[in-house]
């Protein structure tokens, strides 16, 4: 009862005292400001969206060009690797190696002069294995995280899906 008495004594706020229609009639510029404000708000949003779009587009274009450049770089590197292999093969060819061996004082072994030693467990020189056999499955590591590959919508929908799945799971 005491509280009721106190509330009844509380002063009325000014906006409850003012009739809004009356206020707009007395100062029509208020509604104009409202219109202009809303227009400006829309304009700012449009500019913001356009700005974001332009930024992302620019970055995407730059990434695309980078990709092209990297593709060319990769081709150049592949040529360099191929060339390096060829140069290595040239300087280690049988004729070159024979010359080097001869220069170092080596000479071809005679069957009678060779000493053979049995090494337990040694099965002999193995032929070239330059790649894994077809049965081996290499794990494909994720190079680019999903955050960098999915659009805003993908992220949103997948988030909703995850949320709904977890809710269903809990219930």
């Amino acid at each position: 009862m005491t509280e009721t008495r106190k509330n009844s004594r509380r002063p009325t706020p000014f906006w409850e005292k003012i009739n809004l229609s009356q206020a707009f009639k007395q100062a029509p510029w208020r509604s104009q400001i409202q219109v202009v404000g809303l227009f400006l708000l829309g304009l700012v949003i449009v500019i913001l969206v356009a700005g974001i779009y332009l930024t992302i587009s620019g970055q995407a274009a730059e990434a695309g060009l980078d990709t092209y450049n990297l593709t060319y770089d990769r081709r150049a590197l592949e040529r360099t690797i191929a060339d390096s292999k060829a140069q290595l093969a040239l300087i280690s060819s049988s004729s070159v190696m024979e010359k080097r061996a001869t220069a170092m004082g080596f000479e071809p072994a005679d069957p009678g002069s060779v000493v053979y030693v049995s090494v337990p467990g040694y099965t002999g020189k193995q032929t070239a294995i330059l790649a894994p056999p077809p049965g081996v499955v290499e794990s494909q590591g994720v190079v680019v995280k999903s955050e960098y590959r999915e659009s805003l919508w993908d992220w949103l929908f997948q988030g909703i899906n995850r949320l709904s799945t977890s809710v269903k799971g809990n219930s």
Binding site: W29, Q32, I33, V35, V36, F39, L40, L43, A60, A61, E62, A63, G64, L65, T67, Y68, T71, A76, E78, R79, T80, A82, D83, K85, A86, Q87, L88, A89, L90, S92, S93, S94, S95, E98, P108, A109, D110, P111, G112, V114, Y116, S118, G124, K125, T127, A128, I129, L130, A131, P132, P133, P134, V136
Partner: protein
Amino acid sequence: MKIPKNLSRIQILGIFLTLFAGLIVFQMINIQTSAHAKNLNQWAENYGYQVTTIQSERGYIYDRWGHLLAGNEEVYEVGVELQFVTNPASVASALASILGSDYNTVFNLANEPYVEGKSVYIPLSDFVDSNKIDQLDKLKQQYEATNPYGEDKKLPSLRGLVWTAHLQRIYPENDLASNVIGFYSFLDRENGRGFYGVEEKYNDLLAGIKEQVLIPLDPYQLQTIPTAPAGASLILTIDREIQRSTESVLDAAVKSTGSVNGTIIVMNPRNGEILAMASTPRMNLNEYWNYSKIFTAGVPFNKAISQVYEPGSVFKILTMAAAIDTKTVTPDTTFVDTGVINVGGWNIYNWDRGAWGPQTMVGCLQHSLNVCLSWVATQIGSTKFYEYLDRFDIGHRTNIDLAGEEVYPLAEPGDSTWYEVNLATNSFGQGVAITPVQLMMAASALANDGKMVAPHVLKAYIQDGKQYNTNTQIVGTPITAETAHTMTNMLFTSLQQESSDALVDGYAVAGKTGTAEIAVNGEYSSSQTNASFIGWGPVDNPQFMVYVWLEKPASSIWGSVVAAPVFRDEVKQLVVLMNIPPDSVRLSLEGK
């Protein structure tokens, strides 16, 4: 413009902003629809895509240990972009001095007027190595420093001179195993392909992909950038060191015996892997354009697979194997050689026209008696004899994985070209034509417990990052294991008793010589022969089989004189390279 007095500042601001926004929208529409925009759209349609040929890097070829036998090196195409050429004389002078190009030719080309869309770029030289490109680049930079952008046309400038890298086939071992590898016609950048050997046989596998594609220049379409994975690489069964040693032995033999040409094949009789295949002539594969000079008309690229000839007495091992397998004879069966036998109305004589008296079958092989083997063939009977030749795949291709294998059909009873005397002559290798690799395959049954293996040079191939190994192919089992062991022992004994030049100290080998007269103008010449030897070892566990063929040797016509020592020389190096200890050492190490 007179601003109405009843407009407030806010209203003026609103009008101004509206007009500004409208202006932006108008300009946006204008940009999209103007004549210039149409031109831009047209330009984008025309130049939005680039037609490019994507081509896989040609696959590598390795020997069995991973030594590169065929690879690719970086070279350059040098050309001029006519739009930017300011001093054609400088370009011509630079190319003449550094690349050795003809000055006038280059000058005329570099001086061509630029015509947009038509005459834009002219190639001046191709397959230029990187050292020369470095020299050109250095010179270009020097000129650019003294005459930036080539503005002063009186000063030298290499403006407009450009170079583009690409790959060129290279064979680091030059002529090593050239008969096996073949070559790739890299000078023809549009339609280059493999010729002969594995380069031709596996051309599709090595080449990978080659196609023209549209590459979008729009960076937003980056996901459509095509890629061309490298062609498959091959790992051959060839052993580089054995191949080099074999070629060295062959060249020395051809030279010392005065032979026209020669062939040596080294094969593992257990699995058919060709360890070495040497043949003359050979050529530096990096200069394949000399092909027609080296391989004149009628000279095959690889005689080991492409030259059919009458093998002569080495063929007797197949006849004797058939006789042993059919139990027509045993090693101890005695034949009294009177020096002549009549088959189908024709007299057959021995190589020395002599009568060798009583001979066991080992003696018949040891002395290579035509009369004895003719008798053996008649005892087997034509039906069984040719059935065995069919089992040995005589008259058929081995289907070795090398391009250009030849075959000569075998005349059999019932064929119009077959006569009764053929039974006798075929028994000692006349009237039948084969390639060396065919005889190797047939003889592999004798060294491999009766199982005949398919000779092959591909050990594995690498495609899409995986290595696929090939498997041993047993073509057939023409004889039993017992027959194979008996034949090996007979041929081991005959070499021992003969004190053959083919014997190798410390190693038990089995083998047979061959001397085949060459038919000249329809008659066999006694002065021109094919001298050969086929052998394998160690006899208790064969790990190598060697076939030697010398064509028309001048020092001696006999295989036992010219070919047997070559077998010995080859095996002496082979056992070292293959780490095969002398028999006594090996058996003691194995605890036998």
